[in-house]
């Protein structure tokens, strides 16, 4: 009676399975079946002087924020300003630390949010976004009149150079909203108590390190698991020694850009910290928060970081710490740039996807962020500057931010910047990062360091799947 064997049952089951799989593959392909030529169905409204971007006032607006050092409260305030202007608009706000993995499927699906703060370790690769036309050109917003002064374009209300990091082949695809200063940080109180003065030359730095070590304190620590933080003072010192062109060559992936004598000299200088034992033991096993917390506790005197540091360490910084930023010490007496010169750059890239359902609303949201009110609110909430110029940030600034504004003023037009990290994410975050890790654990010397960085840059230059950008 029982003519059924398990085998024959499985056979017929497998048959229907294959059928189902084929249908599924056709129906729900991960590659996305979206028709690219379909007309843009993004919400449109009437343009007028108060609504120059043609926002449809009842169109919903979706915003995704990177929940990092700046938190998400500032965004809620900006969203409040948007609804104040467009009360009928529904705002959908969300915040995550994993921008890339959360949003990648929505880009493929053709239904991305309207504004994204594409930042953090899990950011979506800009090279990929730009080369695939996934981002809206921000020119209409930048050329629209500013909210504060209708006679001025938004573009002209920004700090000089702040559009450089988000500009690819002349088109601005990302608004880097914050203005960040990169330098070496110390506690003014600790230095004053011990009678130490911040060194202006590298020789003085090494001499001071000796004194500090003799006093039983570690002179330096660094964000061990993210050693790329130490590539910043190296590149800064090199740029100050030989001028901006060193950095432009690196950004443009020019052959042997990393082997420039200034970079070698800077790498040699900084590697001496490791060789002479001036780095806090165990630093290489700490992540950024752990090492910065040790530094806040006074276990080490100097650390390299950007000006988000004050906001990031708010919870553990002693009240009288006196967080202070300083430019990297000059390597030689013949440096091309003065001691005061430092790296100031816009950061925290905000993007509007090309397929946003409310593209105009997204651009308008950025315009509101760039208003003086939006910028002042951000600075008040995060203790960080924005790329908007002439914002009255008040006189009651926290110590770190006070020192940042002072340092920026002193640096003036001698400031410099590099953008290879936003052109080629992997080069900084993986390749230079690994080389720094090895340099500061004495696995390699300065010469091998520049060779390894150059090898990384060459591998990016050779990879024809990566789009290349040039700047001058």
């Amino acid at each position: 009676m029982n003519t059924y064997t398990r085998r024959s049952l499985l056979k017929s089951a497998a048959g229907s399975g294959v059928l189902a799989a084929t249908t599924a593959a056709l129906g729900a392909c991960a590659l996305g079946g979206g028709d690219d030529d379909k007309p843009n169905d993004s919400a449109q409204g009437a343009k007028n002087s108060t609504n120059p971007l043609g926002v449809k006032e009842d169109a919903p607006l979706e915003i995704v924020i990177f929940n990092g050092g700046f938190g998400e409260d500032y965004a809620k305030a900006h969203e409040g300003m948007y609804t104040e202007k467009y009360p009928k608009a529904q705002i959908k706000h969300s915040a995550t630390q994993q921008i890339g993995t959360t949003l990648q499927p929505r880009f493929v699906d053709g239904s991305p949010p309207d504004v994204i703060d594409n930042s953090g370790a899990g950011q979506i690769d800009f090279n990929g976004l730009v080369s695939q036309g996934a981002l809206a050109d921000l020119a209409p917003m930048l050329d629209a009149p500013s909210i504060d002064d209708p006679g001025k374009k938004v573009r002209d209300t920004l700090l000089p150079g702040s559009l450089l990091p988000g500009t690819y082949d002349g088109k601005t695809m990302a608004l880097n909203y914050t203005y960040t200063v990169y330098g070496l940080w110390y506690s003014a109180k600790l230095m004053a108590d011990k009678g130490w003065a911040y060194p202006k030359t590298w020789d003085e730095m090494i001499a001071l390190c000796k004194t500090i070590k003799a006093a039983g304190v570690s002179p330096w620590t660094y964000q061990g698991k993210h050693p790329r933080y130490m590539s910043w003072p190296i590149l800064s010192a090199a740029a100050k020694m030989a001028g901006q062109d060193v950095l432009i060559a690196i950004d443009n992936l020019e052959p042997n850009a990393w082997k420039h004598e200034a970079i070698l000299a800077a790498a040699e200088a900084y590697s001496q910290l490791a060789v002479d034992g001036y780095i806090m033991p165990g630093s290489e096993g700490l992540d950024h928060i752990q090492s910065q917390t040790e530094w806040c506790k006074g276990k080490a005197v100097f650390i390299s970081c950007g000006s988000w540091l004050e906001s990031e360490q708010k919870a553990v910084t002693p009240a009288d710490f006196g967080m202070t930023v300083a430019p990297t010490p000059s390597l030689t007496s013949g440096d091309k740039l003065p001691f005061e010169a430092l790296r100031g750059t816009s950061g925290e890239p905000f993007i509007v996807p090309a397929k946003a359902k409310n593209l105009n609303g997204g651009l308008e949201y950025l315009r509101i962020m760039l208003s003086k009110k939006g910028a002042a609110d951000f600075t008040g909430k995060t203790a960080s500057l924005t790329c908007v110029s002439g914002v009255d940030v008040g006189s009651n600034l926290p110590p770190g931010l006070t020192s940042v504004t002072k340092a920026l003023k002193a640096s003036g037009d001698k400031g410099f910047n590099w953008v290879y990290n936003s052109y080629y994410r992997k080069l900084e975050r993986e390749l230079v990062d690994a080389a720094c890790g090895q340099l500061f654990t004495k696995q390699i010397n300065a010469k091998q360091f520049v060779e390894q960085c150059q090898k990384g840059a060459d591998s990016i230059a050779k990879d024809d799947t990566i789009k290349k950008y040039k700047r001058s």
Partner: protein, 302 residues
């Protein structure tokens, strides 16, 4: 009657097979398709590039570096885990001194059995974070313990030193897997007749001989399955590595799974990442087959 049964069986099978096909088989097939494209994962635009991704793989030193780490895991993880698992399991079930009560485990074996199984109850994410803190250079338990017992010279920034980070992660993998195999082997040992052990004991065999000559051959089927499972775990390793070290320092703990993940989600090269996945599929498949072939033995009947 026959017709009714067929309908009955199919009604119950189709939903399960359909779910399996949609969520398991179709992604597999698509991975093969995507691996032949230059898809960058952010738009529906892509072109077929033939075998270019696979040719690039051959000269990708980061891929080979990661593969090399997987190969070491493959060589060490199954052997170490199975050896420890067998040792603990035999101690727990037959390791006690055979008194009048005959063959039994060492005192407190019930307690140990639970302790060994603990890591299995924790999720991989918790194990990863737990050990990341254990290995912390200054506040971590590992260095704290070493310093407390006067071995401060051995204390080091475990996860920051490229020479030891990989072995530190490998240790966590063994630690987190051993418990399961203690229970698995322990259960299998229960089915070995006690008389055999009593006879061996009377003949004056040492514990090691008992383990090697009696337990291992009689458990061979179970060991073989354990070996294949562990080999597959060794070829993956993604979750623990990503949480504990994220492949660093200087790629010294990178594994294929992590390379694949970073290639896809950090570099937005989904075509290339799929090619890594497809290559891995064949490696895993061949390793599983090879292990099963190599460990084939006569089955013992008792």
């Amino acid at each position: 009657m026959r017709h009714g049964r067929r309908l009955f069986a199919i009604t119950f099978l189709v939903p399960a097979v359909a779910v399996y096909a949609v969520f398991v088989i179709s992604p597999y097939l698509q991975a093969f398709q995507i691996s032949a494209t230059n898809w960058r994962g952010l738009s529906p635009k892509w072109d077929y590039v033939g075998t270019a991704n696979f040719r690039n793989l051959l000269s990708d030193e980061y891929f080979w570096n990661a593969l090399q780490h997987n190969a070491i895991l493959l060589a060490v993880l199954p052997v170490a885990t199975i050896a420890l698992g067998l040792f603990f399991a035999s101690m727990l079930s037959v390791g006690g001194h055979g008194g009048r009560a005959g063959v039994r485990g060492i005192p407190g074996s019930g307690f140990y059995r639970i302790v060994y199984f603990f890591p299995q109850v924790l999720s991989v994410a918790i194990i990863g974070i737990l050990w990341r803190e254990m290995y912390a250079p200054n506040g971590g338990l590992v260095n704290g313990f070493l310093r407390a017992v006067g071995l401060g010279a051995l204390a080091r920034p475990w996860l920051g030193d490229p020479d030891v980070a990989f072995w530190a992660v490998l240790f966590v993998m063994i630690w987190s897997n051993v418990g399961f195999y203690v229970v698995l082997f322990g259960a299998a040992m229960q089915s070995i007749p006690r008389e055999i052990y009593e006879a061996v004991l009377l003949d004056g065999a040492s514990r090691f001989t008992t383990l090697w000559r009696i337990t291992v051959p009689l458990l061979w089927d179970t060991i073989q399955v354990a070996w294949v499972y562990l080999a597959i775990i060794a070829l993956d390793g993604f979750a623990l590595v990503q949480i504990i070290t994220n492949g660093g320092p200087a790629f010294s703990t990178d594994v294929i799974g992590l390379r694949l993940y970073n290639t896809a989600f950090a570099d937005a090269k989904f075509g290339y990442a799929s090619a890594i996945g497809v290559a891995m599929f064949f490696v895993t498949l061949s390793v599983a087959i090879a292990f099963l072939r190599l460990s084939r033995r006569e089955r013992l009947e008792y």
